[in-house]
């Protein structure tokens, strides 16, 4: 099971609540708060990094356990590797929950953070993060869907008109190729002026 989450740093950085301890206490575990406090200079970036790890792990968790709730502190995040690059940084982490641990891979780009969470490290994952032209919610959701359909069509070697994304009653998205449920695990996300998706080949 995979989950992904994109966060626009342009949209998120204006929240005055970030500096408020009450906000921190509602979202972050003690371990995470200690980590964030150790990152003096880029605190906000790491706040949103950890949030995207929680959010992407929650999407994966929800697919597996089908239970919805709002409990950010139940997803305890650890940063294992931070590789700095010229145009993007790569961060590898672990998200621990009571029932399941997740591996995460994140990219910090100039104006956004994109994280993919997955259970099985051997899974082949295609992920993509891209700028969107509008901030209108419905238009954005549709743009991300179209991008994902295009990649699924190229992976499957079929026409894009044969690919459909349908959500079940729980809101979990599934890919359909030629009307049949496909063996792809997918996840979609958009925020601010960025869209993203992740595709995994196996449904574990």
């Amino acid at each position: 099971m995979i989950g992904n989450d994109v966060i626009s740093l342009i949209t998120s950085s204006h929240s005055p609540k970030l500096r408020c301890q009450r906000f921190m206490d509602k979202i972050f575990t003690l371990n995470e708060q200690q980590f964030i406090h150790s990152k003096e200079a880029e605190k906000e970036q790491w706040i949103w990094m950890i949030w995207s790890m929680k959010e992407s792990a929650y999407k994966s968790y929800y697919k597996q356990f089908k239970k919805r709730y709002f409990a950010p502190k139940m997803f305890d995040c650890y940063i294992n590797v931070h590789q700095e690059g010229d145009d993007k940084d790569c961060v590898l982490g672990t998200v621990k929950t009571l029932f399941q641990d997740y591996c995460t891979q994140s990219y910090i780009l100039e104006d956004c953070i994109h994280t993919v969470a997955f259970v099985n490290e051997r899974q082949v994952i295609h992920d993509y993060c891209f700028p969107l032209e509008t901030e209108e919610y419905a238009v954005q959701a549709n743009s991300v869907r179209l991008q994902l359909c295009a990649e699924l069509a190229s992976l499957e070697g079929c026409g894009v008109e044969d690919v459909q994304i349908r959500k079940d009653i729980r809101g979990i998205p599934y890919a359909y190729i030629g009307g049949e449920k496909a063996a792809f695990d997918i996840s979609l996300s958009h925020h601010g002026t960025f869209g993203a998706y992740a595709i995994s080949h196996e449904l574990d």
Binding site: I7, S12, S15, K17, C20, R22, F23, K26, I27, W51, E55, Y58, R68, Y69, F70, A71, P72, K73, Y137, A138, G171, H191
Partner: protein
């Protein structure tokens, strides 16, 4: 004096409105409206809503209560219960 349910709902609506991404769903808001899936509120903003509600109603919403806050009805019940304490 106990605040009436409709007054709680009205106050709550003003708190959540800035974070709503589906204005149409907000115009047709009812007790079963889901904050995340219907109003398309970003989950990071659910924390903003909880913090704003704590201030507006002068209450504390603990983690166990926040966990159940998915619909308008959930939120109203959590707030009303906290105000009685």
């Amino acid at each position: 004096m106990e605040m009436e349910r409709t007054a709680v709902i009205d106050r709550l609506k003003t708190i959540i409105e800035p974070y709503v991404q589906d204005k149409n769903a907000f115009d047709n808001i009812h007790e079963e409206t889901d904050l995340l899936t219907d109003l398309k509120i970003n989950s990071a903003h659910l924390v903003d809503i909880i913090l704003d509600a704590e201030e507006a109603f002068d209450i504390e919403i603990d983690d166990d209560s926040a966990e159940r806050m998915l619909t308008v009805k959930d939120a109203v019940e959590i707030i009303s219960n906290r105000m009685k304490e």
